[in-house]
Protein backbone atom coordinates (compact mmCIF):
# COMPACT_ATOMS: atom_id res chain seq x y z
CA UNK A 1 0.00 0.00 0.00
CA UNK A 2 3.09 2.24 0.10
CA UNK A 3 2.66 3.05 -3.57
CA UNK A 4 -0.75 4.69 -3.13
CA UNK A 5 -1.36 7.98 -4.86
CA UNK A 6 -3.81 10.73 -4.03
CA UNK A 7 -6.87 10.47 -6.23
CA UNK A 8 -6.52 6.72 -6.74
CA UNK A 9 -9.73 4.70 -6.46
CA UNK A 10 -9.18 1.89 -3.98
CA UNK A 11 -12.65 0.37 -3.94
CA UNK A 12 -16.00 0.60 -5.68
CA UNK A 13 -19.16 -1.20 -4.63
CA UNK A 14 -22.91 -1.07 -5.14
CA UNK A 15 -25.52 -1.95 -2.51
CA UNK A 16 -29.16 -2.73 -3.25
CA UNK A 17 -31.46 -1.67 -0.41
CA UNK A 18 -34.98 -3.01 0.07
CA UNK A 19 -37.52 -2.52 2.86
CA UNK A 20 -36.17 -5.78 4.25
CA UNK A 21 -32.72 -4.16 4.59
CA UNK A 22 -34.27 -1.26 6.53
CA UNK A 23 -36.23 -3.46 8.91
CA UNK A 24 -33.16 -5.57 9.64
CA UNK A 25 -31.14 -2.43 10.36
CA UNK A 26 -33.88 -1.10 12.62
CA UNK A 27 -33.78 -4.29 14.67
CA UNK A 28 -30.00 -4.49 14.84
CA UNK A 29 -29.46 -0.83 15.71
CA UNK A 30 -32.45 -0.19 17.95
CA UNK A 31 -33.61 2.75 15.80
CA UNK A 32 -37.32 2.01 15.31
CA UNK A 33 -38.36 5.40 13.96
CA UNK A 34 -41.37 4.43 11.73
CA UNK A 35 -40.26 6.80 8.93
CA UNK A 36 -37.91 3.94 8.03
CA UNK A 37 -40.64 1.37 7.41
CA UNK A 38 -44.11 3.00 7.20
CA UNK A 39 -45.18 5.07 4.18
CA UNK A 40 -48.14 6.64 6.01
CA UNK A 41 -45.96 7.91 8.85
CA UNK A 42 -43.24 9.14 6.48
CA UNK A 43 -45.66 11.13 4.35
CA UNK A 44 -47.51 12.49 7.39
CA UNK A 45 -44.32 14.28 8.51
CA UNK A 46 -43.74 15.73 5.05
CA UNK A 47 -41.24 13.21 3.67
CA UNK A 48 -41.52 11.94 0.08
CA UNK A 49 -41.61 8.34 1.36
CA UNK A 50 -39.79 5.80 3.49
CA UNK A 51 -36.10 6.64 3.88
CA UNK A 52 -33.09 4.51 4.70
CA UNK A 53 -31.59 5.29 8.11
CA UNK A 54 -28.68 7.71 7.65
CA UNK A 55 -26.70 5.48 9.97
CA UNK A 56 -27.41 2.48 7.72
CA UNK A 57 -25.94 4.37 4.76
CA UNK A 58 -22.97 5.43 6.89
CA UNK A 59 -22.66 1.82 8.05
CA UNK A 60 -22.35 0.14 4.65
CA UNK A 61 -20.52 3.02 2.93
CA UNK A 62 -17.38 2.25 4.96
CA UNK A 63 -17.46 -1.49 4.22
CA UNK A 64 -15.54 -1.31 0.91
CA UNK A 65 -12.73 0.43 2.83
CA UNK A 66 -12.83 -2.22 5.57
CA UNK A 67 -12.60 -4.92 2.88
CA UNK A 68 -9.63 -3.11 1.34
CA UNK A 69 -8.00 -3.19 4.81
CA UNK A 70 -8.31 -6.98 4.75
CA UNK A 71 -11.49 -6.87 6.81
CA UNK A 72 -9.66 -5.25 9.74
CA UNK A 73 -11.86 -2.35 10.87
CA UNK A 74 -9.41 -1.86 13.75
CA UNK A 75 -7.32 0.09 11.27
CA UNK A 76 -10.08 2.69 10.91
CA UNK A 77 -8.99 5.59 13.13
CA UNK A 78 -11.74 8.09 12.41
CA UNK A 79 -14.88 8.12 10.26
CA UNK A 80 -17.18 11.07 9.62
CA UNK A 81 -20.06 11.90 7.30
CA UNK A 82 -22.63 14.63 6.77
CA UNK A 83 -26.14 13.53 5.87
CA UNK A 84 -27.03 15.64 2.86
CA UNK A 85 -29.80 13.81 0.95
CA UNK A 86 -32.10 10.93 1.87
CA UNK A 87 -32.14 7.52 0.19
CA UNK A 88 -35.77 6.69 -0.63
CA UNK A 89 -36.62 3.00 -0.52
CA UNK A 90 -39.85 1.88 -2.23
CA UNK A 91 -42.22 -0.73 -0.82
CA UNK A 92 -41.40 -2.96 -3.77
CA UNK A 93 -38.14 -3.13 -5.65
CA UNK A 94 -34.78 -1.81 -4.53
CA UNK A 95 -32.70 1.33 -4.30
CA UNK A 96 -29.15 1.00 -5.55
CA UNK A 97 -26.49 3.03 -3.75
CA UNK A 98 -22.98 3.31 -5.19
CA UNK A 99 -19.87 3.80 -3.07
CA UNK A 100 -16.58 4.96 -4.58
CA UNK A 101 -13.59 5.14 -2.22
CA UNK A 102 -10.67 7.28 -3.28
CA UNK A 103 -7.40 8.29 -1.62
CA UNK A 104 -7.92 11.86 -0.41
CA UNK A 105 -4.63 12.47 1.39
CA UNK A 106 -1.54 10.58 2.54
CA UNK A 107 0.70 11.22 5.54
CA UNK A 108 3.06 9.35 7.87
CA UNK A 109 0.18 8.01 9.98
CA UNK A 110 -1.79 6.60 7.07
CA UNK A 111 -4.35 7.80 4.60
CA UNK A 112 -7.57 9.71 4.37
CA UNK A 113 -10.04 7.88 2.17
CA UNK A 114 -12.82 9.99 0.72
CA UNK A 115 -16.12 8.32 -0.08
CA UNK A 116 -18.53 9.35 -2.80
CA UNK A 117 -21.90 7.79 -2.00
CA UNK A 118 -24.55 8.23 -4.68
CA UNK A 119 -28.17 7.34 -5.20
CA UNK A 120 -30.31 8.42 -8.15
CA UNK A 121 -27.38 10.41 -9.61
CA UNK A 122 -27.06 12.52 -6.46
CA UNK A 123 -24.56 12.43 -3.60
CA UNK A 124 -26.23 11.42 -0.33
CA UNK A 125 -23.31 11.83 2.09
CA UNK A 126 -21.16 14.94 2.28
CA UNK A 127 -17.60 15.14 3.61
CA UNK A 128 -17.53 11.34 3.99
CA UNK A 129 -13.98 10.70 5.16
CA UNK A 130 -12.29 7.67 6.66
CA UNK A 131 -8.88 7.97 8.30
CA UNK A 132 -7.02 4.67 8.21
CA UNK A 133 -3.70 3.36 9.52
CA UNK A 134 -1.58 1.73 6.84
Amino acid sequence: MSDLTVGEIIAEQTYALTRDTLVRYAGASGDFNPIHYRDDVATSVGLPGVLAHGMLTMGFAVQPVVDWLGGDSGRVLDYQVRFTRPVLVPAEGESVVTVVAKVGALDDAGARIDLTVSFDDATVLGKAQVRVAL
Binding site: T21, A28, G30, D67, G71, S73, G74, D78, Y79
Partner: protein, 148 residues
Protein backbone atom coordinates in the same frame (compact mmCIF):
# COMPACT_ATOMS: atom_id res chain seq x y z
CA UNK B 1 -40.56 25.34 21.90
CA UNK B 2 -36.97 26.08 20.86
CA UNK B 3 -34.04 24.04 22.12
CA UNK B 4 -32.88 25.33 25.49
CA UNK B 5 -29.53 27.14 24.96
CA UNK B 6 -28.59 26.33 28.55
CA UNK B 7 -28.06 22.70 27.48
CA UNK B 8 -24.69 23.71 26.08
CA UNK B 9 -21.93 22.43 28.34
CA UNK B 10 -24.17 19.98 30.18
CA UNK B 11 -22.73 16.55 30.95
CA UNK B 12 -24.95 13.55 31.70
CA UNK B 13 -24.47 10.64 34.07
CA UNK B 14 -22.62 7.65 32.55
CA UNK B 15 -24.99 5.07 31.00
CA UNK B 16 -25.41 1.65 32.60
CA UNK B 17 -22.69 -0.74 31.35
CA UNK B 18 -23.53 -2.32 27.97
CA UNK B 19 -22.16 -5.84 27.45
CA UNK B 20 -21.30 -6.40 23.78
CA UNK B 21 -22.48 -9.87 22.74
CA UNK B 22 -21.02 -11.89 19.87
CA UNK B 23 -24.42 -12.52 18.30
CA UNK B 24 -25.29 -8.82 18.53
CA UNK B 25 -22.09 -7.99 16.65
CA UNK B 26 -22.96 -10.58 13.99
CA UNK B 27 -26.51 -9.24 13.70
CA UNK B 28 -25.29 -5.65 13.36
CA UNK B 29 -22.62 -6.69 10.84
CA UNK B 30 -25.24 -8.40 8.65
CA UNK B 31 -27.47 -5.32 8.93
CA UNK B 32 -24.74 -3.01 7.58
CA UNK B 33 -23.98 -5.48 4.77
CA UNK B 34 -20.51 -6.32 6.08
CA UNK B 35 -18.64 -9.19 4.48
CA UNK B 36 -15.59 -9.06 6.77
CA UNK B 37 -14.96 -12.43 8.46
CA UNK B 38 -13.54 -10.54 11.46
CA UNK B 39 -17.08 -9.34 12.21
CA UNK B 40 -18.56 -12.84 12.35
CA UNK B 41 -15.90 -15.49 12.84
CA UNK B 42 -14.09 -15.55 16.22
CA UNK B 43 -11.23 -17.60 14.75
CA UNK B 44 -10.63 -15.05 11.98
CA UNK B 45 -10.76 -12.25 14.56
CA UNK B 46 -8.27 -14.06 16.84
CA UNK B 47 -5.95 -14.68 13.90
CA UNK B 48 -5.95 -10.90 13.35
CA UNK B 49 -5.05 -10.27 17.00
CA UNK B 50 -8.45 -9.61 18.58
CA UNK B 51 -9.99 -11.47 21.50
CA UNK B 52 -13.34 -12.05 19.76
CA UNK B 53 -15.43 -10.83 16.81
CA UNK B 54 -14.85 -7.18 15.91
CA UNK B 55 -17.80 -4.79 15.66
CA UNK B 56 -18.21 -2.77 12.43
CA UNK B 57 -17.09 0.90 12.61
CA UNK B 58 -20.60 2.30 13.14
CA UNK B 59 -21.55 -0.13 15.95
CA UNK B 60 -20.95 2.54 18.64
CA UNK B 61 -24.27 4.08 17.55
CA UNK B 62 -25.99 1.24 19.43
CA UNK B 63 -24.52 2.62 22.66
CA UNK B 64 -25.03 6.17 21.37
CA UNK B 65 -28.78 5.51 21.23
CA UNK B 66 -28.72 5.16 25.03
CA UNK B 67 -27.21 8.60 25.45
CA UNK B 68 -29.61 10.10 22.92
CA UNK B 69 -32.46 8.77 25.05
CA UNK B 70 -30.96 10.62 28.04
CA UNK B 71 -30.83 13.86 26.06
CA UNK B 72 -34.42 13.57 24.81
CA UNK B 73 -35.67 12.73 28.30
CA UNK B 74 -34.08 15.84 29.82
CA UNK B 75 -37.16 17.77 31.03
CA UNK B 76 -35.89 21.23 30.08
CA UNK B 77 -34.24 20.27 26.75
CA UNK B 78 -37.10 21.37 24.50
CA UNK B 79 -36.21 18.77 21.87
CA UNK B 80 -39.22 17.41 19.94
CA UNK B 81 -38.03 14.09 18.49
CA UNK B 82 -40.47 14.22 15.55
CA UNK B 83 -38.60 17.33 14.38
CA UNK B 84 -35.11 15.87 14.72
CA UNK B 85 -32.96 14.90 11.74
CA UNK B 86 -29.40 13.62 11.86
CA UNK B 87 -27.05 16.31 10.54
CA UNK B 88 -23.67 14.70 10.79
CA UNK B 89 -21.85 11.94 12.61
CA UNK B 90 -18.25 11.23 13.48
CA UNK B 91 -16.47 8.41 15.30
CA UNK B 92 -12.91 8.74 16.59
CA UNK B 93 -11.54 5.37 17.64
CA UNK B 94 -8.77 4.38 20.02
CA UNK B 95 -9.54 0.75 19.21
CA UNK B 96 -12.46 -1.19 17.69
CA UNK B 97 -15.23 -2.61 19.86
CA UNK B 98 -15.02 -6.40 20.29
CA UNK B 99 -17.48 -8.91 21.72
CA UNK B 100 -17.06 -9.15 25.48
CA UNK B 101 -16.47 -5.43 25.94
CA UNK B 102 -18.46 -3.81 28.70
CA UNK B 103 -18.99 -0.23 27.59
CA UNK B 104 -20.15 2.92 29.31
CA UNK B 105 -20.97 6.17 27.53
CA UNK B 106 -20.90 9.67 28.92
CA UNK B 107 -22.71 12.35 26.96
CA UNK B 108 -21.83 16.01 26.87
CA UNK B 109 -23.64 18.68 24.89
CA UNK B 110 -20.82 20.63 23.32
CA UNK B 111 -22.67 23.18 21.16
CA UNK B 112 -26.12 24.59 20.47
CA UNK B 113 -26.44 26.83 17.44
CA UNK B 114 -29.39 28.50 15.75
CA UNK B 115 -29.58 28.54 11.99
CA UNK B 116 -32.57 30.03 10.19
CA UNK B 117 -35.13 28.93 12.77
CA UNK B 118 -33.54 25.52 13.24
CA UNK B 119 -31.37 24.46 16.16
CA UNK B 120 -28.20 22.42 15.75
CA UNK B 121 -27.34 20.37 18.82
CA UNK B 122 -23.87 18.84 18.91
CA UNK B 123 -23.42 16.06 21.44
CA UNK B 124 -20.33 14.02 22.20
CA UNK B 125 -20.52 10.48 23.65
CA UNK B 126 -17.28 9.28 25.18
CA UNK B 127 -17.29 5.48 25.30
CA UNK B 128 -14.92 3.65 27.65
CA UNK B 129 -14.44 -0.03 28.49
CA UNK B 130 -14.65 -1.83 31.84
CA UNK B 131 -11.16 -0.66 32.82
CA UNK B 132 -12.08 2.94 32.06
CA UNK B 133 -9.89 3.02 28.94
CA UNK B 134 -11.12 5.06 25.99
CA UNK B 135 -12.57 3.07 23.08
CA UNK B 136 -14.33 5.58 20.84
CA UNK B 137 -15.87 9.03 20.88
CA UNK B 138 -19.07 9.51 18.89
CA UNK B 139 -19.95 13.08 17.91
CA UNK B 140 -23.45 13.70 16.57
CA UNK B 141 -25.07 16.85 15.32
CA UNK B 142 -28.85 16.79 15.43
CA UNK B 143 -30.87 19.35 13.53
CA UNK B 144 -34.09 20.25 15.31
CA UNK B 145 -36.43 21.85 12.79
CA UNK B 146 -38.23 24.97 13.97
CA UNK B 147 -41.86 25.86 13.28
CA UNK B 148 -42.55 26.22 9.57
Amino acid sequence: MPVNPELQGRTFAPTAPYLVGREKVREFARAVLSTSPLNSDPEAARAAGYSDVVAPPTFPIVIGELTLAQLLAEPDAGIDFTRVVHGDQRFSYTRPIVAGDELTATLAVTAIKSLGGHSMVTAESTIVDGTGAHVVTAISTLVVRGDE
